[in-house]
Amino acid sequence: MSSWIPLWLHKLGSPPTFYRFAGAVRPWAMGLALLAGAIGLYGGLVLAPADYQQGDAYRIIFIHVPSAWMSMFVYAVMGVSGFMALVWRMKLAEVVAMESAPIGAAFTFITLVTGSLWGKPMWGTWWTWDARLTSELVLLFLYLGVIGLYHAFEDRRQGARAASFLAIIGVINVPIVHYSVVWWNTLHQGSTVNVFGHSKMAGDMLWPLLVMTLATKAYYVASLCRRARTDLLALEGGKDWVRRIAEAEVPR
């Protein structure tokens, strides 16, 4: 492989090394997620004042917005690692891409549900076909498609490459969908309300939001570490290093 890759990154591409690395990282990432989550939620639910327009209902924002950002962040990670999986056939890239998909789908689902629960008291409707919500729904379908396609193959590595291809198509598609729905909304004059048009946020409300963003990112890393470790055990089942782990751990 090319010499611009540092040795530690190269070593990380080896399954047993990554297994150990992820095992070490995970507790720290989870600890950070829980700590930041506790601080962020305390700041958002208890410390921050009620919004003068939306009362206490706006507090859903502290889980809705970080989840929305994560749904897109994870998709980007999935796209990049999928690209690496396709072009360089890196086993680890395949694992990262495929195991990110369920986490991303989870965040997308949370975004849609919490958005709906926020929309009902605020704008009187559980759902509206504005660009952001519709794009988020399409994003959920993309995640489900990637997960479904991955599991449709007998050969996991082949499935990972096919699903990565689909993910990359999706990366191109999501902005297209977003733009077309914006255009479509201007055509059908009905719902031109920009539902999430909050302007500037008070500092009291901003910092819990940012802390929650950090918490969800750390959670993603933790969850990915655990999922990747489990997936490596499944993929490398016949290898010695996995056998040693299986012998060391007594199954419950």
Partner: protein
């Protein structure tokens, strides 16, 4: 109203705020638990496979046994 009741009531929007937070936690806890369950299943199957291989190796004459990958 006590401070706790005031907090739980969420200014009258409790029916929306608390289910939203519940969904957040339930989904992420499920996401955390799933790989753990899968890992246990994988290790269980691996143990079974190793036990079967060991039993087969004991039964077969050791000189003719080729190392299984």
């Amino acid at each position: 109203m006590s401070a706790l009741q005031h907090f739980l009531a969420m200014g009258g929007y409790a029916a929306y705020v608390w289910p939203a937070y519940a969904v957040f936690f339930v989904v992420l806890i499920a996401d955390s638990a799933a790989p753990q369950l899968r890992r246990r299943r994988i290790l269980r199957e691996l143990h079974g496979r190793l036990a079967r291989q060991a039993a087969r190796a004991r039964r077969a004459p050791p000189s003719s046994a080729t190392p299984t990958p």
